[in-house]
């Protein structure tokens, strides 16, 4: 709980915050819109009164109605963690500017958010899948991606192949490996 940090944030970013600054235990949370991310992060990084030089974490969140990207920053000027929540991304096409211009180490964290949620970071030079195979079609951590044995609880329960009991040999018609055209 750092009231000085709250005052500084409110005075600097007052009109850009979409929600009141929330403090609990040793964390301070501010919420901004997706388009403000580069400016706010640059200010927090460059200004000596903030000096949040360390990006501790970059996470994607799917709340079921919206998507969010959450940045955790640390600075020597404050005993609190600063959490910046870029809120209000649509679930259909979540897009957000990238922070790789400030922290090159965010590149893979953004790749992971893209892989798991489908959030596109504009400005990331290397936005491709990092964990799943490159031809994978779904985004696993989204709330509409169900694990196989939750299938009974999902709206289309028991439809997918993984949710049914098959004998392995009788599973699917054999497909051949595609041959290169002559």
């Amino acid at each position: 709980m750092d009231p000085a940090l709250k005052r500084r944030l409110a005075s600097r970013f007052g009109e850009r915050l979409t929600a009141p600054i929330h403090q609990r235990h040793d964390e301070t949370e501010i919420r901004i819109g997706a388009g403000d991310v580069p400016d706010v992060c640059r200010t927090l990084h460059d200004e000596p009164e903030f000096a949040f030089l360390t990006l501790a974490d970059l996470a994607g969140v799917d709340t079921g109605t919206t998507m969010q990207v959450v940045y955790h920053l640390w600075s020597e000027t404050s005993p609190d963690w600063l959490r910046v929540v870029a809120d209000g991304l649509s679930r259909d096409d979540p897009r957000l500017p990238s922070v790789t211009f400030l922290w090159k180490g965010a590149e893979w964290m953004e790749r992971e958010a893209y892989d798991m949620f489908g959030i596109t970071f504009e400005g990331n030079r290397d936005l491709r899948r990092i964990y799943m195979p490159p031809d994978y079609q779904s985004f696993p951590l989204r709330k509409d991606f169900f694990l196989p044995d939750d299938a009974a609880r999902s709206p289309g329960g028991g439809v997918r192949h993984m949710e049914q009991v098959h004998t392995p040999r009788a599973a699917r018609p054999a497909t051949t490996i595609r041959k290169a055209p002559a």
Partner: protein, 413 residues
């Protein structure tokens, strides 16, 4: 007939097709390290364009460097590495999704195998985040037990680092010596937690088991000879001219790059920035313990190695203090079995042997976490290989990667 066939194409007439053991498909040529699809991003196009005299070498997911399943596509010019593209995901087990579908208590067991060598440091931020959500206060004895067991885990991890560092440079003896160290500490922790490797020791509100006779006797035995044993082990490497000359000046990182690459832990302390979250953002009982933060200035592989060695010595100091200052009391706070924290968010970070381990938990009021985000240092540090490796020989490139100490379980979650 003897026209040169392009790379990867093989005519059907070269291999007898009536042999039932041989089932070739014309399209399956030689294994190509490059991806069989056109590049999708700017960086991929830049990487997969070969210059003059360059070639691709694939260090596939199975290779003798024992970091786990990592695939690196190297672009080399002779023996020099020009560029590289690490491909991850060969150990991605979907831990975050599994945690969302499990209780708070069950999630702790999923957090263990992330960095399987430093399991307690993977459990700790998860448990701390849950405690923040529940506003649980951990008894002091439990905190001291946490610090004690985790510092033992840190020594275990650093001894293994020492062995692997030498193994990647070609030395086969130090890995055997460090596994002796590691086995002793693992047996100790098995006496305390019940498991040699994936301890599952921390609980929400405390720890699972108290000190017992076997643990204390093993610990006492080991501590009495620990310092001399570690000095002996290090004498094998620190005074070895080949080791020192190979590592000095290799993979140098400066402070600005380290901050930009979001490094934490010994990798950033080796560049001169004394960032240690036990001091910078104190948690648990670290304010009451007296220890130093070893830092070096050079930022090369030797500095990263020496920082970790110094940390072993500091950990021994901390263990000593824990044993002397251990308070009495319960080892676990009283909590209901069915935990329903109020809706909220919590972030907790600890300083582990590789860097900052953190967990960001969002609770929606039910008994399952809504979002369990695990932050792992190895994932971040592996990005640095792209900056540090180019320009070195392949053999040195492996040394650079070993000095960053990645563990693929954590990288891939």
């Amino acid at each position: 007939m003897t026209t040169a066939t392009p790379h990867g194409a093989r005519g059907a007439g070269e291999i007898p097709s009536d042999d039932p053991r041989v089932q070739l498909d014309e399209a399956l040529g030689v294994f190509e390290p490059v991806p069989p699809y056109p590049p999708r991003t700017e960086r991929e196009a830049e990487f997969y364009t070969l210059g003059d005299g360059e070639m691709f070498i694939n260090m596939g997911p199975q290779h003798p460097s024992t970091h786990g399943v990592l695939r690196i596509v190297l672009k080399i010019d002779g023996e020099n590495v020009v560029d590289l593209d690490p491909v991850l995901g060969y150990l991605h087990r979907g831990v975050e999704k599994l945690c969302e579908n499990a209780d708070y208590h069950h999630s702790i067991a999923y957090l263990d195998p992330l960095e399987y060598i430093s399991s307690l440091f993977c459990e700790w931020p998860g448990v701390m985040a849950f405690e923040k959500l529940l506003d649980v206060e951990v008894p002091r004895r439990a905190e001291y037990l946490r610090v004690l067991s985790s510092e033992l885990n840190r020594i275990l991890s650093h001894s293994l680092f020492m062995g692997w560092m030498a193994l990647d440079l070609g030395g086969l003896t130090p890995i055997l010596w460090s596994f002796i160290e590691r086995d002793e500490i693992a047996e100790m922790l098995a006496a305390l937690t019940g498991q040699r490797l994936l301890f599952n020791y921390f609980r929400i509100g405390g720890v699972n088991g108290d000190l017992n006779h076997e643990f204390l006797s093993r610990l006492g035995d080991w501590m009495s000879r620990a310092t001399t044993q570690i000095e002996n082990n290090l004498g094998l490497l620190n005074e070895n001219e080949i080791f020192v000359r190979r590592m000095r000046g290799l993979g140098t990182m400066d402070q600005a790059t380290a901050l930009r690459m979001c490094m934490t832990g010994p990798n950033i302390r080796a560049t001169g920035i004394p960032l240690d979250f036990r001091r910078a953002h104190p948690y648990s009982v670290f304010p009451e313990l007296d220890f130093d933060i070893p830092t070096r200035d050079e930022g090369d592989c030797l500095a990263r190695y020496l920082v970790r060695i110094d940390e072993i010595k500091q950990s021994l100091r901390i263990i000593d203090q824990c044993l002397h200052q251990m308070p009495d009391g319960p080892i676990m706070a009283k909590l209901p079995r069915l935990l329903r924290p109020r809706p909220g968010r919590a972030y907790a970070a600890v300083e582990g042997p590789r860097g900052q381990y953190a967990a960001y938990v969002i609770s929606d009021g039910t008994d399952q976490p809504f979002r369990m985000r695990i932050h792992d240092p190895s994932f971040i540090h592996l990005q640095a290989v792209g900056t540090l490796m180019p320009g070195h020989l392949i053999a040195d490139a492996m040394a650079v990667m070993a000095s960053l100490d990645p563990i693929m379980g954590g990288v891939d979650k």
